[in-house]
């Protein structure tokens, strides 16, 4: 972009561009914090067996509903299970649902959106109207409905969340395609004898990738919250498997005696989704080619 930046001329262009994006990102403290916290949650999910002080179902009958102490940093629940350990194990369900649901939504929505936007015509009109109708229902309502039909389990909850998120993504992918297909370089590629498939793979998809990356960081926290909601309602993860939503549901009965049982998983949901949102905001600003420096 600018020859005035301080990067050495010997760097490859790709490395230089990456460096500019990284620097723009690093300049935003909230984005960096979001990145750090999100990474911490992902690591906690992966490393749960090694970093959690107790097993997720391990009970200590000497400490039922115990307040925070040296043995149990965040206290224990009504069955004497360590709350910190269950939050760490519970992050697995949340991250898995968040990431897999987003991937599923991308896999379903992006091809449909691109094909509709690229070929236009009757099929596209049907796609556009159907997404409009689906978008009239709130995301969580669709997800709850689908999860209820599919039956309760983490996999089904993930599928429900992924499908529920698809209409919004279809609309985004379709809109981007409509704009990209009019670009001069697409016209030039057609004039150079490129086939439709090649134009889609080389000219349309890569140029919408930053939009899709940003959308992913918006969808992941939405799906994390969605998983908690479904699990809370009994449509997602089934007890005794830990999940933040399940913990919240269990905490209801003890709200007056031990409100911390609801507060700690609530905070986990809050910080986890907030961190992904901040990460997404930072990425959007850093990847936006219109902001130069």
């Amino acid at each position: 972009m600018s020859y005035a930046d301080t990067s050495p001329a010997v760097m490859s262009p790709r490395a230089r561009r990456r460096r500019i994006v990284r620097r723009r990102f690093m300049r935003r403290p909230l984005a960096v914090a979001g990145f750090a916290v999100a990474t911490a949650f992902v690591l906690a999910a992966i490393l749960a067996p090694w970093i959690a002080p107790y097993g997720p179902g391990e009970t200590d009958f000497n400490a039922l509903l115990a307040p925070p102490s040296a043995q149990h940093l965040l206290g224990t629940d009504e069955l004497g299970r360590d709350v910190l350990s269950r939050i760490i194990w519970g992050s697995r369900a949340s991250i898995e649902a968040g990431v897999m649901a987003t991937l599923l939504a991308m896999l379903v929505a992006v091809p449909i959106g691109i094909l509709g936007g690229y070929y236009r015509g009757k099929v596209d009109a049907v796609i556009a109207r159907v997404t409009d109708v689906l978008l009239a229902f709130p995301f969580l309502i669709v997800a709850v409905g689908l999860a209820a039909i599919l039956g309760p389990s983490l996999t089904n909850a993930t599928i429900a969340l992924g499908i529920g998120a698809a209409p919004a993504l279809i609309r985004i992918a379709r809109g981007e395609t409509l704009a990209l297909r009019e670009e001069d370089y697409v016209r030039a590629a057609v004039a150079n004898g490129a086939s439709d498939g090649r134009i889609i793979l080389r000219h349309v998809l890569p140029n919408m990738s930053s939009t899709l990356i940003v959308q992913a960081t918006v969808l992941i926290p939405a799906a994390i919250i969605g998983e908690a909601v479904l699990s809370f309602l009994g449509l997602g993860v089934q007890p005794p498997t830990p999940s933040w939503g399940v913990m919240l549901a269990d905490a209801q009965s003890y709200l007056s005696e031990a409100p911390r049982l609801a507060i700690f998983p609530g905070l986990a949901i809050f910080f986890c989704s907030l961190s992904f949102n901040l990460l997404g905001d930072g990425l959007r600003d850093a990847l936006d080619p219109r902001t130069r420096r």
Binding site: P13, D184, Y185, A188, A191, N192, G193, H203, P206, S209
Partner: protein, 327 residues
């Protein structure tokens, strides 16, 4: 020998507000290794004609006529046949160099893609050939530029890259649609120089679509002047400038500033009026409303193309050079 023969090409766009006749009965011949200038105001159908030949127009366009390229019929060819011809045998360079390259890929990979697709070259061979091509279009330090992204290049450089991409498969015809319009004058000269060089070195026939007579005078062998979708005049370039016959050509020449040895000032002449709307088929000479020579005949009949001098055709009832211009 003629490479491309177009006969009676017509393009009509059917829109909700009625149909528009963008090109009306255009015939032309392009010989091997020849530079043909196609000149006219915006909207006279010069770009549309060539887009139509390559099947690049939207589906609302109705194209009729016949066009033979190297013994093959272009109009009505299947889309896969056209795709093989596009880029490989007839290549196009567009007007907008700033936006005609994909911002997400290095220029080397974009030129290389054409080579791999049309010629089936390996990555290594494609890279070597790409460096050659960048050299051919006189981009300095091609070994380094090949790994740069479009945003790192200037407009003139990008246009050179577009030309390199168009030349990648050694096409027989290069259609350059206003290739210099978006560029600075000094850069324009460089690009024209390059095109002349390409014709001499590779023997590529070039169709130069432009509204700039100066550009045509510089490199074309033959010129077609188009007006309102029809051919107004066609002549070898020297003949056209020495003895313009159509009043429209005269008007265009009058609008070109010409520095002379004398400091005598000559006002630039404008052509009064505007290009007519093309919504109805003509019943009169399309230029008549703007023409100083128009009479009853011009307003009631469409002039046919006549050969007024050897190889010099004009569609006008009152041809001849303009006296005002002679000065």
């Amino acid at each position: 020998m003629s490479l491309l023969e177009v006969e009676d090409l017509s393009v009509r766009f059917d829109t909700d507000d009625g149909s528009v006749h963008a090109v009306d009965g255009l015939s032309l011949v392009l010989r091997e290794g020849e530079v043909l200038g196609v000149v006219g105001e915006s909207g006279c159908g010069k770009s549309v004609s060539f887009m139509a030949l390559l099947g690049l127009l939207p589906e609302t366009a109705v194209v009729t006529g016949r066009a033979t390229f190297a013994g093959r019929e272009l109009l009505g060819a299947s889309s896969s046949e056209l795709r093989r011809i596009r880029g490989r045998e007839i290549a196009i360079v567009f007007q907008e160099p700033m936006t005609s390259l994909n911002p997400s890929f290095k220029i080397g990979s974009q030129i290389g893609e054409v080579l791999r697709r049309h010629l089936g070259l390996s990555n290594r061979a494609a890279r070597a050939r790409t460096i050659e091509l960048l050299q051919l279009v006189r981009i300095p330090a091609p070994e380094r530029r090949i790994d740069e992204y479009p945003h790192q290049l200037s407009g003139g450089m990008r246009q050179r890259v577009m030309i390199a991409m168009a030349l990648a498969c050694d096409p027989k015809i290069l259609v350059a649609d206003e290739p210099t319009t978006a560029l600075d004058v000094t850069i324009q000269a460089g690009i024209l120089d390059l095109m002349r060089d390409i014709r001499e070195r590779l023997g590529t026939a070039i169709v130069l679509i432009t509204h700039n007579l100066g550009v045509v005078a510089d490199i074309a062998d033959r010129v077609i002047v188009m007006y309102a979708g029809r051919k107004a005049e066609e002549a070898p370039v020297h003949e056209l400038f020495a003895s313009p016959q159509h009043p429209y050509t005269n008007g265009l020449l009058g609008a070109v500033p010409r520095p002379g040895p004398t400091l005598e000032r000559r006002r630039l002449l404008e052509i009064p009026g505007r290009v007519p709307s093309l919504s109805e088929p003509p019943v009169a000479c399309a230029f008549a409303p703007r023409c100083p020579r128009a009479d009853e005949l011009s307003r009631t009949a469409v002039p046919d193309l006549r050969e007024v001098r050897p190889e010099h055709f004009v569609a006008c009832f009152h041809p001849g050079p303009d006296e005002n211009l002679a000065a």
